[in-house]
């Protein structure tokens, strides 16, 4: 299940949803808001999403992960709106019988989400400026 959330993500609650009796491994990834990027001080982030397409593309990525890797469950949640330093921006969780597939699927999901899902990160800097970023965290420019 791929979710967009305007309120804080409860990582522990999401992880519990992954539990299955056949699961021997659980891998989770948390993306946090850090206070710097490309040498600039960041005060907070603003995320926008084109929700209908973001949900559809996110769901597609999770389906691909299930096809590619021997996993039991996979879930992802992404915040939208304004986030402060230290907040959880994106969460990916995978359960599987064995760790190799869980690690690989988790990596696949976060990489594809960053590459394909229509969500945009706007950094607000300490000097008062702000800017939209590319997937590699370089500025888009306007």
């Amino acid at each position: 299940m791929f979710r967009l959330s305007e309120s804080p993500i409860d990582a522990a609650a999401l992880a519990r949803e992954l539990a299955q009796v056949g699961a021997g491994a659980c891998v989770t990834f948390e993306g946090w808001v850090r206070d710097n990027n490309e040498g600039r001080n960041v005060l907070r982030l603003g995320y926008q999403a084109y929700a209908p397409l973001a949900l559809a593309e996110g769901k597609r990525i999770l389906a691909e992960a299930r096809e590619k890797f021997a996993i039991l469950d996979v879930r992802c949640a992404h915040r939208v709106g304004t986030l402060e330093i230290g907040e959880l921006a994106v969460w990916v969780g995978v359960s599987a019988a064995h760790r190799e597939a869980a690690f690989a699927a988790c990596r696949y999901v976060i990489d594809e989400v960053k590459r394909r899902v229509p969500i945009w990160k706007n950094e607000h800097y300490a000097d008062g400026e702000s800017g939209w970023l590319h997937p590699d965290n370089t500025p888009v420019g306007t």
Partner: protein, 79 residues
């Protein structure tokens, strides 16, 4: 024809609006973007964008229908 266009990220900032109804003779997204780029002064060329029609990724040459929702997708940066 009449289209509903939604703007996100740098396109939203430049246009100063998050959505608009557009009356246009353009028959595809490429023609529509050319018009809107001239009107709003968008810096991003279509080579930097993807296009979505009615909530799904589409080809720039896909024929538009009256009432379609068109979204030009700037480079994404989730995560």
């Amino acid at each position: 024809m009449n289209y509903r266009v939604l703007y996100f990220a740098s396109l939203r900032d430049r246009a100063g609006i998050d959505a608009e109804q557009v009356e246009s003779r353009a028959g595809d997204a490429r023609g529509l973007y050319t018009e809107l780029r001239a009107r709003h002064g968008f810096a991003l060329g279509e080579d930097r964008l993807r296009v979505a029609i009615n909530g799904a990724f589409a080809a720039w040459e896909q024929a538009l229908c009256d009432g379609d929702e068109v979204v030009f997708i700037p480079p994404v940066s989730g995560g």
